[in-house]
Amino acid sequence: MKKNVRDFYNLLSFARQLDSKGLFGFVWMFVIICCIIVGFVALFSQIIEGHAITGMRDNVVWGIYIVNFVFFMGISYAGAIFSGLLVLLKIPWRAPIIRITQLVSVICGLIGPLYIFLCIGRLDRVYFLFIYGRVPSPIIWDIFAMITYLIGNIAFLFLLLVPDLAHLRDTNELRLAPWRKKLYTFLALNYKGSPKQQKDLTSALKILATILIPISVLLTTILSWIFGMTTRPGWNSTIFGPYFVFAALYAGVALVLVIMWVFRKRYDLQDYITDLHFNYIGIVMIIIACIYAYFSFNEYFSMWYSFQKWDARVMARITDFDRYGWLFVFTNFIGIIVPILIVSIKKLRSIRNIGIASIIIILGMWVKRYISIIPTLETPLFPIQDSRIEYVHYTASWVEWVLTFSGLALFLFLITVITKIIPIVQLTESLLNKEAREQKANS
């Protein structure tokens, strides 16, 4: 292992991240844990009182739980696609980013499905999905594919970590607690960086990267089919598959940028997460934004122009400024045009502004899922028997909002805890850039 020390970044640079115990850290964790505890209280209320405590009713059977599910899963799939591409394409500047993208992918992939459980009225019957599930149903495809994806995704993150874990196991640069050393020793899988081990590890990573990209694309598409294969207005669209893929990538790249921004600022990682990384990912973000805008325009324009009865009703609802008009403007104009302008115009292209643009994108993409799902459900094809206002219009209850913010808190909790154990940046350049360096040396 010592032979490869030169291949690592300076571990001391990450001492603050791995070992800081300041007041801010405690307050941060305390707030996050409080949010999660409140979430458990809300969950308990929902289990006791049932879905009547939520805003979901006969017509709007999916509320912000499904919005959160689509949002988190989309980011997860996007993270996996980015990680896979970074590994397979051997992009030279990937090392500081690949850990973040993969970490985001795994955490969001774990949180997203929780919201599906919240949508289920009888949680005690969840296992029915496996016993009585029918292969023709896209929901069953989603379940099996998602389990397969999560296992592969976690394995990919873990294998990317192995060299760093081995380094942390062997290093004396940091004063690590004994339990940490034991943990690193257990997780490092006897990795010592020998050529044979590097070969096996690189091979395994390439296989997983190759699998994860198509799986992620396929899963995002299946996710879109849950909506697109119904005949509901606003959902029954042939472009929903690629539309969802680019929506996921758009939100995913924005979240990665936000995390890069926060960690760089909080732990002074300017030497690792450089301006160049922000510029490169910013350009990727512009390209995705343009493609996503193109899909959005196609979707809404064809809905509006065809003026079919039900589509017209959904469009009228979405663009009604007394209902969802402002959200429509925010997600489709501010959420796309502002980030493009910020990254395109050199004077505006600061790291802070890119971070702000990314936050706008994330909020915009959450809103996008909201106005994609709720207005359609508020436009039922069948006549409404009982037309009480709460049956026709959806308003999320406090339980749903609390559980939404608890999910966000859980995301922050997990990323905080995991980044206390492993560096946010891939330390082992040797593994990822070995081939590139060898080629350079030979030339």
Partner: protein, 299 residues
């Protein structure tokens, strides 16, 4: 004296000049009047139609020109029924832009003479532009019916033709041609042409005409421009055609069916199986990596 004579002569010239001028003006007016009075001859073509038992008179008003018949639109036509020497007005109808006017005879109990002839008349009173015109039509009231019968296992179309007389009795018809058609995409196809004998006309139904999904086929019997009976059309439908079965094999899948299509099962198993096989390969690679680490004492 001379002055007086000259004055008279000038006066006479003046009067003559004025007379000539007035004469010319009057001539042109007379000429114009003669053009108006020399009106165009209008002509009426009157036909009788009986379509599926409903009768009507169809009149076409036109002027004959060198370039062909020019329809006279917005002209009032009077339709009459003549019984003996008495004329009974049936209806007054204006022609359309094509010079056509249709007079419905439904609900009218028109009685023929003793030989069964009915006399109908259409007249145009004329106007400033066109002369008056009238046309008489003498027809017999023929009733035809279509039936489909299996005669010695042969599918046969039987058309029955009966004419009614003014005396109230009925008479079978002979030697009148009737043509049978079936509708096609862009027109009609002639099935056959037969003559009435003793009030009946029969035709073997072809066995190779495609019908709809249930084999229904529409048959149209036509007697056209017959001197006695006018134009008669009768349609009827029978499921004697070849059943048209769409060649498109529709996949009848439903989201709630319990059995998925085979291709879907195979695709699903192959895809999942492929991914899990690669996971197993990854697992063995990682296990080998772990074992190698134990043996690599140099590292």
């Amino acid at each position: 004296m001379t002055k007086t004579i000259n004055f008279k002569i000038h006066s006479i010239y003046l009067i003559l000049l004025l007379l000539i001028l007035f004469q010319n003006r009057s001539s042109s007016e007379v000429l114009n009047d003669s053009i108006i009075q020399e009106d165009t001859t209008a002509t009426i073509d009157l036909s009788y139609f009986k379509v599926n038992g409903k009768s009507h008179l169809s009149a076409e008003l036109y002027e004959q020109a060198n370039e062909g018949n020019e329809p006279i639109g917005n002209a009032t036509l009077h339709f009459y029924y003549q019984l003996g020497d008495s004329l009974f007005l049936i209806n007054t109808i204006s022609t359309n832009s094509e010079g056509m006017a249709i007079c419905n005879l439904d609900g009218l109990d028109l009685v023929g003479d003793q030989e069964g002839f009915m006399k109908c008349l259409c007249s145009f009173s004329g106007n400033k532009q066109y002369s008056s015109a009238r046309q008489q039509l003498i027809i017999k009231n023929l009733q035809i019916s279509l039936s489909f019968q299996l005669i010695d296992t042969t599918k046969t179309i039987v058309i029955k033709g009966i004419e009614s007389t003014g005396r109230g009795d009925q008479k079978v018809i002979d030697f009148t041609s009737v043509e049978l058609f079936t509708p096609t995409l862009f027109g009609e196809m002639l099935i056959g042409s037969v003559e009435f004998m003793n009030g009946y006309a029969t035709l073997d139904f072809p066995t190779d005409i495609p019908g709809d999904e249930e084999g229904n086929i529409e048959v149209i019997a036509r007697i056209m421009e017959n001197g006695n009976y006018g134009n008669l059309v009768l349609t009827s439908t029978k499921n004697w055609g070849k059943e048209f079965i769409p060649q498109m094999d529709m996949a009848h899948h439903k989201l709630w069916t319990t059995d998925p299509p085979v291709w879907m099962l195979i695709s699903f198993i192959v895809l999942l199986g492929g991914v899990w096989s690669l996971y197993i390969i990854v697992f063995f690679k990682v296990r080998r990596m772990k074992k190698t680490g134990i043996m690599d004492i140099n590292y």
